[in-house]
Amino acid sequence: MASATEPPQQSGWLEERLGLASIRAFLAHKTVPVHAHTVWYYFGGITLFLFVIQVLTGTLLLLYYRPSPAEAYESVQFIMTRVQFGWLVRSIHSWSANLMILSAFIHMFSVVFLRAFRRPRELTWLSGIGLLGLALAFGFSGYLLPWNTISYFATKVGTDMAAAVPVIGHSLARFLRGGNDVGGATLTRFFGFHVAVLPGITTLLLLAHLALVQKHGMSSPQWAVDQYSRKGQPVPQMLFFPNFFLRELMAWYAALGVLGSLAAIFPWELGVKADPFAPAPAGIRPEWYFLAPFYTLKLIPSHVWVFEGELVGLLGFGLLALWWVALPFWAVNRQGVERTRWVTGAGVALVAYLATFSALGYWR
């Protein structure tokens, strides 16, 4: 990539101080495999892009938001009504949160179906699962901040679930709530998590995840490798810069268009200010990304044999999560042969479960 149009002294000055040549050389060699399913490779970048949008819009919101029960709702109302383009920033923040989590799930499932978790990328998988967990934590903590009826009761239900965990449940719920009940202390605490703790941890984990991805390069699924090796060729690649990147820019721009449209046409609602003393409204339910476990817990009878239904449900989820996190490790047997059918089956089953139960949770 010649830089004939750049004034020579500029690049030399930076080059001397930052030594970017090695990075440029590395990036110039980064490639992305080209096969029938290349489209899924964009979703990691989209998730990252949406996260950056969250950070930017979140920082803007920080200029006006106040994290106390007396002022939180009113400050959000102020942003929506009095601050110029406040409605836009807030709605983009709320919509982008949802799109980011959706994108993260798509990214995870595409990794499963394209087997990108295989050795030596197990740590990438683990850090990715960690990031998904962080994204959900962002969603859960952020949801309370507008302090409207839905936020308040969704948080109450959510932290009640935490309390049902055996042994540590009570302490865990107290830690989350900042007390015995959801209240001002919870709001302050969630705000702290949302703008400081979680971003800090996410930055570290994200850097690790990206570094690992750069180190190992982009993986190709086994069937693609086999398909091309039969022809005596390696899997075709495209350069990351500029080919893949230009395409990714298009995807990011498309995402921006979608976000803008959603914000303008379906603005995020303000709701009604939370009243802790009012009874919970009928049909309270969490955001869509928590609907599947929520609905599952609703279906479980209050007692299964001698155990409390909720406990059984939570333990079930815990085991499922552990099994899923350990995917790269049980995906291959002792001889190193991949358990293809198991992995595909597990992926399909999980997608089906999440999709079905989320839909049921939404419509019931």
Partner: protein
């Protein structure tokens, strides 16, 4: 001092025996029931015993001695003697002061003036006495929700007799009052919303001195709560006319028991009340039609604003100030309905005019909100066009770099 006496008296049941209750609790059927019920009675809580009403001696375990006529044992008290028996204590001011200083002591005096009291005095035992309303043996305080005379249960208690056609045969009054009352706005407030201040039978008819209000005093009775209406009605042309006709004021239009939520249909339309007396061409008829039309106009204007504001709010626009103004507009609608009771169009005109001004204001707010929505969407289109151009440019750049044959030029190298 008072509390000392109270404490002593409260301590009495713990120490003094009540042989009546002790013996009767182990009997069966009708002899056992009163003893069992008495545990819930407020008189028991204050240390009274069966003997305090029925006579006899509570300290004697021997039935002959306990229920001796010499000690004043009366047994079952005849219905005609019940009020006096209760009044023996309840009309004794100095006695009542020892237990409940603020409680009234004129119930008996009131009862004597009531229809029930007068009929009982002439020997009619079918009428209500103290125990029919307050229950007997398990008498609870009025504020106790289980008491038959608790505000929420009072209408059913009256209805026990007054809605029973068989019981009321021979008296010349209808038995549909409770059924009618249940359709009323007051019953809604009482039974559905639990509003204890809502009127029921005793609120208008009195409790101990129960009798229907005189025709001239109906407006005053309603006016205890509906002050504004009574005020206007008294100064209106209807008052002297209704008085002369011997018609019962508010009842003429609003009925007595089945008081429905008022609406503009009472002024004009097929079920109008006004047209029952007023010809359409008469001054009254014209006034009624005019008032109805004004109120309808205001109602429609407010609804129009409601709709546009709801539309704006649905699309995420902020209209809370306008919605607050709408509240004021609706208050004007209420004021207009109240003003009807002056039975002059000018009186209704004033609140309607103010209300229409508010409705116009809020409608404008809705229009601006929708305009702002349009502006936002225009801004969105501009940015979408910019995005589309960029995407087109990116796509072209890709195509240019990779040439027409994207398959080969995508690959390693250009």
């Amino acid at each position: 001092m008072r509390y000392g006496v109270l404490a002593f008296l409260l301590a009495v049941p713990l120490t003094a025996a009540d042989s009546c209750v002790e013996c009767h609790s182990v009997l069966e059927g009708k002899l056992q029931a009163p003893a069992k019920a008495f545990a819930n009675d407020i008189h028991a809580r204050f240390g009274f015993s069966c003997a305090d009403c029925h006579g006899g001696n509570r300290n004697e375990t021997d039935p002959e001695a306990a229920m001796s006529k010499a000690r004043g044992f009366v047994g079952k008290i005849p219905r005609t003697a019940v009020p006096e028996r209760c009044a023996h204590c309840h009309s004794n001011a100095s006695l009542m002061e020892k237990y409940k200083p603020r409680q009234r002591v004129d119930q008996m005096a009131q009862y004597r003036t009531s229809v029930h009291g007068k009929r009982l005095a002439s020997g009619d035992v079918k009428v209500a006495t103290c125990i029919d309303c307050h229950s007997v043996h398990d008498i609870r305080e009025v504020k106790d929700p289980l008491s038959p005379v608790h505000p929420l249960r009072l209408p059913e208690t009256c209805a026990r007799c007054h809605a029973d056609a068989a019981h009321m045969a021979g008296y010349k009054i209808p038995t549909d009052q409770f059924a009618s009352y249940r359709k009323s706005v007051h019953w809604q407030a009482l039974a559905k919303r639990g509003d204890l201040s809502a009127p029921s039978c005793a609120s208008c008819h009195g409790n101990h001195g129960a009798q229907p209000p005189e025709l001239e005093s109906v407006a005053a009775v309603c006016g205890t709560c509906h002050v504004m209406m009574e005020d206007l009605y008294k100064k209106s042309p209807h008052q002297p006319v209704f008085a002369a006709m011997g018609a019962g004021g508010c009842v003429v239009c609003h009925s007595n028991h089945e008081i429905r939520p008022p609406n503009v249909g009472m002024l004009a339309g097929p079920n109008a009340v006004c047209s029952q007396c007023h010809d359409a061409t008469s001054a009254g008829g014209i006034a009624a039609a005019d008032m109805a039309q004004q109120i309808t106009t205001l109602d429609k204007a407010l609804e129009r604003s409601d709709q546009i504001l709801a539309n704006a709010q649905q699309s995420g626009m902020e209209v809370s100030e306008a919605l607050l103004r709408q509240r004021e507009g609706r208050e004007n609608l209420v004021k207009a309905a109240v003003a009807v009771h002056a039975f002059r169009t000018a009186a209704v005109q004033k609140p309607v005019k103010e209300g229409l001004a508010i409705a116009a204001e809020t409608y404008q707010a809705g229009v601006s909100a929708l305009k702002e929505r349009r502006t936002r969407r225009q801004g969105l289109s501009v940015s979408l066009i910019a995005i589309a151009i960029t995407m087109l440019g990116l796509w072209l750049a890709i195509r240019t770099i990779e040439g027409r044959n994207t398959q080969t030029s995508q690959l390693r190298g250009r």
